[in-house]
Symmetry: D2
Subunit: 314 residues, 4 copies
């Protein structure tokens, strides 16, 4: 019975499905997820609900797109669901194919089914190659392809590269995204509160509300980082939603909460802000080493603490 | 013939249609548009193209939502299409119904058709009442409802309150927006470069790119406003789109470009930034008077200029 | 023998003499000094040398004058002699008498003997009442009076109010200082490293060198205080002396090193500056309670530390 | 008679005399002063009074010493006498001898006559070689030596190197200045309001009062320079003198008032400060070229103005 229970509690992972999505490609980069149960879900809320309920140990969700910016549904979910932590980030190149039912040629295509974000990312190619096409929006990149086989409302679909491995479709054109370097950033989210060890190439993700009783609050928040030599790789404003002019900020800072300068910035933020959500410190997907001035080295912080302790006689 | 030509060149206005959209409600607030031709268009790009081509003298477009934040398509269009100016802003309360073909019940609903912004504004209600729904994005709130009657890809649609007056649909639920005070801000955009006169209750809209060759650039940009006592009512980051970490900022500042402190902030921004797009100075929809410290009064600026001119012997 | 040794090691105090100086008046304000040995010395260097050698437990020295500014000899001595601590501050009103040998009248006065600083502080009175006088500089306020009785080079002297209690002179005029509110601030300096307990009305004195390898260093130093809501009551630049443009700063900050916001500012300063000399935290002479925003209350700092400790699992 | 009057109005120059002072050496560096009348005066006040009254066209006065810092009498005089301008700066190396009446030895010396600034510059040597000396301040370095021959109040004097060429004194010690590289900076002051032309190696001197109604005022003042890329070579606090804690700041900034970034900083200062005294823009004595980032080049400022003028339709 013990062993059978072990089987039922084997770690499961949730992701925005179905098979063939970029999210699935991101989850495929996680070694611990290999061979485990993968739950395909319909939206970010469902993915995170799986984590909160314990149905899955972690969920892979898109958080930022190099063309479209932050994924607001994800940012808002992370702001509103407590006790979630980002364990790692994963990059997936955005590469699209134009696919169609077998036997179709490009000349046959009048109507294209595509998720609006994918459509926007391929607009240049479409205007050049299919100047007179119409567009039907779909709910996901894979659903666009799948629907080709179910209905004839569209002649072709924009789908993630590689979709032909999952669906019986013809690839009419490959690499049709306007920006060949477009990348989507995914994060693996869990309830684990144990911090991954610092690697020297880390990110710390935060959501910070600004106090609303004073001018220049954003300036003051940024100074919490700048005065400790901590660089930001992402800063995105999101309305808190109750009235115009009130924002929270989604922030990725270089470095790990165990780096002294990051820890000190966290202290400063927490003192300043009515609400700081610590989303985690985790290794960077791009493996870039964190750069910082020697002014902000760990021993500069510990030396100062020793000096003060002596003054205070502690 | 001259007079008949005058008739054909009477000013037309473009807006995101069809009849019944929030955008139409915003355009109805513009006295000059009353009795003129209104062009219903399908998206922001089409609306602005009408302005650029001269087909319309102005277009009404949504720019910010108190729940969802900036409308990114609008922000990106204003960043990329040159020589556009905001002439005024208009507020429309946001109220949504969930509608479906006659005979549908809530239990029947699996797939919801909704404009992405409307979808985001009702996300809480949907997650509670339709936790397993799928989403098909539509190009407008009204189109979502209209498509119910044309195709069966969705079971229900999110539509502006009152839509049942225009379409033969069942209202499954009313007031489903998560925030009952939600408001959408629209702007009237034209090619006119003449500045509306200052009213004492004005806004100045800008898009500012950050220089990418130095840390703390956002901090420095904000200081351009703070050191002149200029408050911001909106600041929103948008990726420039070529790579992660490069942003432009969409900004609404209190005051008019003819206010000395705003003019001086514009000078500072222009010196600092590789690209500043001036979108206009125009009266605020909420009629709130601009507050500023007496330190930043117009005569403080003109006195300083006189003093310097005397030193320089100019 | 034990008791006689006790007598020889009774605490002695050094001050700039002779009897009758403002410095003596400051020392008279120190309860612990009452009934102890007082060493009259000739200059600040001698007074501090007494402390360093152990000849005196403490020295009273002038540090700031409300008219003349910081006493640079004191500031430089405190910067250069290590391990000194300010234990308390004392204010003495600057009140001067014009004195002369018995029998002299104001009409008889042609030449006035006065320390240059005292002379400068009474210049207005002298120009009005003795428009044709000449001035002989003396080395101290008391020496000016004393010399009247020894030589006849001067007819009168400017001396501290009350000098007639020590010397057999006539007071020709009282309260002759141009600024009736002028005050000199003295500090009691010792080698004790034990911090006086916080009283809620404290000052913290520092000498801070600026790093010379970057622009804006003074700005950055001031931010260490401003970002913790710590006000300064004194900031005085002093050249380090090796070349133009290199400064140290003599600083008095409101609050005690045991106040969290002051302690955090000290950490920031120490990390930033190549050399921070902590001169002490001690009760203010004026008993003014330290004001600070609730943003910088002690529990704001301890709460932030607790929050971070939980994140770090410490 | 016209021509004879021209002779009587030939430009005269005032300086702190007598012959042999460092000030005389500074005046000797001014080509225009060669062959003109030189008025030897007793103090800075007299020198500037000569300029105000028109007796002299200009006065040479010491303003800063690399060891002692700003010359406070000069700084205060420039703050209080209106309409003075610095036309140029001159550097003179500081080298001191200890001199005494013939026949004196170092062991005989109890009291030293010295100008306070000279005294401060030799303090280290004096504390080591004459630890128990007393100090009588004199009005000039040369007067200190001269008085040895007139009175016996002092046993020795600190005097400029070379004084023995002018006075019949014994040199007890040479090169007694603590810093062998010490330099004194002199400025030539006049009532001319015409600005010297920019040379690319200029300084701009200012006295700025801080507003007293807000915290962080010094920080704000420094930002006026930092945000325009203007470096400071001198910043010195001076009490305004009416109460503790109120300061004016004596500032030397790199660059000329005709440099756009300096002009803009002047505008910012003037708007911020209750009182800005412009003391002049003039060529640097050390001929160092002003360095500034290309961000703050003149054309960056003029381009921004052109851009704004177009927006405003001016």
């Amino acid at each position: 019975m013990g062993s059978s229970e072990k089987v039922t509690t084997a770690p499961a992972y949730s992701y925005l499905g179905p098979a063939g999505t970029f999210t699935e490609a991101a989850l495929a980069q996680v070694p611990a997820a290999a061979g485990q149960t993968w739950h395909s879900v319909n939206n970010v809320g469902e993915a995170l609900a799986d984590v909160v309920s314990g149905r899955s140990v972690a969920a892979m969700i898109a958080i930022e797109n190099s063309v479209e910016g932050g994924v607001t549904a994800t940012q808002d979910a992370l702001a509103n669901i407590p006790n979630l932590r980002i364990m790692g980030e994963y990059l997936v190149p955005v590469a699209f194919d134009l696919v169609a039912p077998k036997g179709t040629t490009l000349a046959d295509v009048n109507v294209v089914n595509a998720h609006p974000v994918a459509y926007a990312q391929c607009r240049g190619w479409l205007e050049k190659n299919l100047p007179h096409h119409g567009h039907i929006p779909s709910s996901s990149n894979v659903a666009a392809a799948a629907s080709l086989l179910e209905t004839d409302t569209a002649d072709a679909a924009i789908a993630p590269a590689g979709i032909a491995r999952h669906y019986d479709v013809e690839v009419l054109a490959s690499g049709i995204a306007d920006n060949p370097n477009a990348v989507t950033r995914f994060v693996l989210v869990s309830k684990t509160t144990e911090l991954p060890a610092p690697t020297g190439s880390d990110k710390t993700s935060l959501i910070v509300e600004l106090p609303d009783d004073r001018a220049g609050a954003l300036l003051e928040m940024l100074e919490q980082f700048a005065t400790r030599g901590v660089n930001l790789t992402l800063i995105q404003s999101r309305p808190i939603g109750d009235e115009f002019g009130r924002y929270r900020f989604v922030i990725d800072a270089e470095g790990h909460a165990r780096d002294e300068r990051v820890a000190d910035a966290l202290l400063g933020l927490r003192r300043f802000s009515p609400k700081v959500i610590f989303l985690g410190s985790y290794p960077r997907a791009d493996k870039e080493q964190t750069q910082h001035s020697s002014r902000y080295a760990d021993d500069v912080f510990t030396d100062a603490r020793d000096w003060l302790a002596e003054i205070l006689g502690d």
